[in-house]
Amino acid sequence: MSTTAGIKRRRFLQSTATLGGGLMLGISLPSLNARQAEATGMPSEPGLGYFVRIEPDGSVVIGSPQPEMGQGVKTSLPMLIAEELDVNWSDVTVEQMPLGLTRDADGNMAWLHVGQGAGGSNSVVSSWQPLREAGATARHLLIEAAAQRWQVDAQQLHTEPGVVVHGASGRRLGYGELAGKASTIALPAQPPALKNSKDFRIIGTPQKVVDAAAIVTGQAGYGIDAQLPGQVYAMIERCPWHDGTVASVDDKAARSVPGVIDIVPIEGPKPGEPYTVLASGVAVVADSTWAAIKGRRALQIKWNKGPHATESSSGLRHQMETAMQGQGQVVLDDGNFKDAFDSAPRTLQAEYFVPYASHAPLEPQCCVVDVREDGADVIGPIQMPSGASRMVNRLTGLDRLSINVQMTRLGGGFGRRLSVDYVAEATLISMAVKRPVKLQWTREDDLKHDFYRPCGLHQMSAATDKSGHISAWQHRLASPSKYYRRANVAAQDQWKAELYPDDLPRNLVPNVQLEYFSMQSGAPRGSWRAPAHYANAFVVQSFIDELAHQQGIDPLQYQLALLGEPREYKYEQHGGPIYDSGRAAGVLKLAAVKADWGEPLPRGRGRGIAGHFTFGGYAAFVVDVSIDGDGLRVDRVIGAVDCGLAVNPNHVIAQMESGIHDGLSSALRLEITMQDGQIEQDNFHNYPLASLADAPRIVENYIVDSPHPPAGMGEPPISPLAPALTNAIFAANGKRIRALPIGNQV
């Protein structure tokens, strides 16, 4: 094994030689110290931070900067580089890049090359330009190398996959043969011109998961598989009451469990202040996970239950209802809702409820952290590596450039791992025991200590004119905001996480009013896949369906009439700046056509439709259900999506399938409830994810051939599923589901 010693580390986008004499384009990481590489046997090239590495044998390794949690970016992002580099995709191997930070001229922290962290379906969007430029820059260097070798003008050269070609003489040199020379050539002052999309050979082609073989053989590394030499294992018993504290702990029995090494108290955040860890508790450190579990069971802890000890779901619901009898915060007031509503010939009102939900990624939270005097290593399933870096810096005071953060594959994210409380916990324990610590949560820990998707009570009112068009629309929402313990969010801004004013039906209806009631709850809240879109799409798309049925108009035709002529509207929230009603109508129409919308169905069956715009992508589903003595059965789901250019159509489809099944799972049976201040769900028997037996036997998805730049696909597909499903239930048996989960309401 070679060593990193003697490798000169430089910063910023640059080319350099690999140890093997090849080309490495990208960034070496000054923070990766030799000690770690030597101790752990991690790849000893400094270039964990590279985008492109080409070895003399022609092998091409591309670094993927964003965390992979199933959304497919470890495949799609390197495709962007490979396209412009001009190599055969089959010749590429992909490695995960760690967090790359640097300090700018003013001494402030800056991205080493691109922003890192996956959220808001933003990875493909934010990478679209810089990663193609990285690939094009590498190709430029290879062409320049060939030009120097052959003593010709670079303008006379072109590339074929993996080869630079001098057309006039027919000379050819493989990238591997040019890599060493290319590493000595200065970077261009400006990024080279990028390909015209009609010349794409990789972007837009269906590609499979790059780690597929590793996954199916058990070799893919997740957070739970991370190890550091000399690590110890930790579990934490956390206070079951939100913001409760440890009153006393008797750890004598726990310390006597064979394998238990130490007991470490963990202090929770003060009420109202930003969190580090999520809860107070007691950590058991042991020489194995099982010893930590047994030690944890032997702890005798008395808890101070804290300020939320009497909170219950029914009580919170009652508070919502009481609050909504009064006046809330009007956050959007187009036209004059009240006058329009009061004078309308026909009105409709309905109340909807969406419960708290947990993320429940199949990999429970876990993390390996080693805090030393000279720095720290953090390895885990991390959605927001810079947040992890900041957290470790805050707790340890270590220079951020000495904190190495490595993202493993994530066993699911769904927004849970935007928060880095589990990193904080492992950091505190490592500081206490002065060793690398592997922290492992159980499923019970995960369900009881989440940043839950906020619950909310929605009161909808609409008026229609003589022709049935919606003339006035009011959406009142009472919820505890997703903005949990956010010091920088003012009370009057809590609504911004829960209502996105530019969503449909704004601009399509003359009088629109949104009103928010900010509720208090001890339960932590956070981002859950598509955040507020999940609840709002359910409510809005259901209510439009109700209005259509009230008017006796086909729901698809009713919504298309609402969307009107294709037009671009301003959209100022995330996913903007444009909402295109034509694209919204387009996915509804495509799904409807593919699903034979309008064809009659036998008795007991129903077909529903819904669409939604989420973070730049438009998705729609048509759901078919059967309802009989055995209850509800989802027979078929037909989906359509317009995500702009589909970088990897295979995984665009995969995300549609994900939205269908995850959306179904959440709609059918999932809710988090509280009683006496405690979360009532603790494992999959009472938080029952949908199984294959719940899944539709027929699933088809279609992608709109779109000229627009790509939108991310992690979130757009989930939100329309629940309303399409409940609209189908209404079509089947006339039962309007206004509260999730559906449970036994059918």
Binding site: P229, W290, R443
Partner: protein
């Protein structure tokens, strides 16, 4: 001392007999392909074969495995990938991939007894949970695996990609042992 056959080799474990087999496999035998998801036999991420049958190793104690034949994902393939693994790649099932080892181990068991499954068979027997929602492709892959089994299509030897950069695997523990 607990002794069982692990992927064809004799394996001895001298720790607590009540240690769940899952943790014996992951931490003692350093076979980390088997995953922890719920600890209660509910999700199936930890599925291994014990005496040829799929079982959830988080609720099987080490003592209960004494004298048994245990096969993990690391031991499922022979010279070639198992037909279920091959089918999983061909249908590109994985999203996050965390549950897929358990899905594969489970399907590899019951497909031996039901070589020509129906949708209802799949829905009855493939009870492993997937949070990403890969069920449509799991279904397709099971049909494909059954077809590979029936037709005897030989799986090509798939190169196994190296572990994700930055995660030290078993061999690095060995190095650490030498260093310390």
């Amino acid at each position: 001392m607990i002794t069982f056959t692990l992927n064809g080799q004799t394996y001895k474990f001298d720790g607590d007999g009540d240690t769940p087999l899952l943790w014996v496999l992951r931490e003692h035998a350093q076979l980390q392909g088997t995953k922890f998801g719920c600890g209660a036999g509910l999700c199936g991420a930890c599925t291994v074969h014990i005496d040829g049958r799929a079982q959830r190793s988080c609720i099987v104690s080490a003592a209960a495995a004494d004298g048994k034949q245990v096969t993990t994902i690391e031991g499922l393939a022979g010279a070639n990938l198992h037909p279920v693994q091959q089918a999983w790649i061909e249908e590109d099932v994985s999203q996050c991939g965390y549950c897929q080892v358990g899905q594969i181990m489970n399907a590899a068991d019951w497909l031996q007894r039901i070589p020509n499954p129906s949708d209802a068979d799949i829905e009855k027997h493939q009870t492993n949970l997937c949070r990403c929602g890969t069920y449509a492709r799991v279904r397709k892959a099971i049909y494909r695996a059954a077809e590979i089994q029936r037709t005897g299509a030989v799986a090509e030897v798939m190169p196994i990609a190296p572990a994700v950069a930055g995660i030290s695997q078993t061999e690095s523990l060995g190095e650490a042992g030498e260093n310390t």
